[in-house]
């Protein structure tokens, strides 16, 4: 089964379009800003995760930082913590180096892990293209998580108060109520991911 999953994931990656809603989420083992390694399977208590590809330097990511913190504060106690992954290559985007990630996490007091995808393999596998790019994951059985939503956080990157569609929160509320997610895919508006050349 594990092999089959690996093959399926490899095929999805080869197809070039990344994981889709309904697909099993690929686990990873990435370094957090505190030096510890973090994986999805590492936390047995959670119901799922709000996996967010985001970075230090993109104005959209910066505009969403406080909302990402709020998402974590609201939904971690309900079983869906945020896990942030920084996908940009540190050489192409020096502001996103591991040192600068550590600084940003400290300055903003990130209450969630902020992981570096150094090889960009996780980002590529998931098919994230922009920052911030959100994947809502729901535990199905054991350490198997399924992707329930892919896209943007809400419909106003500039001003949280003016947003009237809260895609990620709506997805989480549906999952918490035991319902299926209504809007499962939106376009994640933001900056392109800076791939290593």
């Amino acid at each position: 089964m594990v092999y089959l999953n690996v093959i399926l994931i490899a095929l999805a990656v080869l197809a070039g379009d990344g994981l889709k809603v309904g697909d099993q989420a690929m686990d990873f083992n990435l370094k957090n800003v505190d030096g510890q390694m973090v994986s999805l399977a590492g936390n047995k208590d959670v119901k799922g995760y709000i996996l967010i590809f985001t970075c230090n330097t993109c104005p959209y990511s910066v505009a969403y930082e406080d909302r990402i913190i709020e998402l974590h504060q609201k939904y971690a106690p309900k079983g869906y913590p945020v896990v942030a992954v920084q996908p940009n290559d540190g050489q192409r985007s020096p502001g996103d180096s591991f040192g600068n990630m550590q600084k940003r996490a400290k300055d903003k007091g990130f209450p969630f892990p902020y992981l570096l995808d150094e090889t960009q393999e996780v980002t590529r596998t998931y098919g994230a293209t922009n920052t911030p790019h959100v994947y809502v994951l729901d535990r199905k059985s054991g350490d198997t998580f399924v992707i329930e939503y892919i896209g943007t956080i809400d419909n106003n990157s500039k001003n949280a108060a003016d947003a009237d569609k809260h895609y990620v929160m709506d997805a989480l509320e549906s999952l918490l109520d035991g319902n299926s997610v209504q809007t499962t895919k939106t376009k994640a508006i933001g900056c392109t991911i800076k791939w290593a050349s």
């Binding site: 104005p59 922009n130 943007t152 419909n155 106003n156 990157s157 939106t186 376009k187 994640a188 508006i189």
Partner: protein, 179 residues
């Protein structure tokens, strides 16, 4: 800027020389005809203005580039668009559509456009609910910039490129759409 001053004078002062009056009238005519007030002015628009560019009946090839002042690869390729407008003004219509937030118009976008001496049309698209309109530009668009849309209104052919362009690529794309 002479157009703006000329129009202003024409509108607000009666003691005019005939010369200024003519300039004022001419410039006001330009404003009414094209909705632009000068080479380095940036108009803040809604999606309908963009839709107009995408659907209008024009003999010229429409080149629409989506960019922002914070986007490094966008800034890198902006000179290609300025050059294209300089080289083929009779053949292409270049519009640079800034996706900067509208509240940085005065302190970022306008100074940027002036510093770079851009003379192409520059619009700031003030439509924050991206998921309501980006599919109308192109269904394949992930929402990342730079992105460029090229349209031949006469044949209906379109090309959409969601990445930074290589030098000379723009001219090649236009040639492909012209044949």
């Amino acid at each position: 800027m002479n157009c703006i001053r000329g129009t202003f004078i024409w509108r607000h002062r009666n003691q005019l020389s005939m010369h200024k009056s003519v300039i004022g009238l001419f410039c006001l005519g330009l404003i009414l005809a094209f909705g632009v007030v000068g080479p380095t002015e940036v108009r803040v628009v809604k999606f309908d203005a963009l839709e107009h560019l995408m659907t209008r009946d024009s003999e010229k090839i429409e080149v629409i580039n989506f960019w922002a002042t914070w986007c490094k690869p966008c800034i890198k390729e902006l000179p290609y668009f300025q050059q294209l407008q300089n080289d083929m003004p009779e053949k292409v219509n270049v519009t640079l559509v800034s996706l900067d937030f509208a509240d940085v118009l005065e302190n970022k976008v306008i100074p940027f456009v002036e510093k770079r001496q851009l003379t192409t049309q520059v619009l700031l698209l003030d439509e924050i609910d991206y998921n309501s309109w980006i599919d109308k530009v192109d269904p394949s668009w992930s929402g990342a910039i730079p992105a460029t849309l090229i349209i031949n209104h006469q044949t209906g052919q379109r090309k959409f490129i969601e990445r930074e362009l290589e030098p000379g690529e723009l001219e090649q794309l236009i040639e492909e759409l012209t044949i």
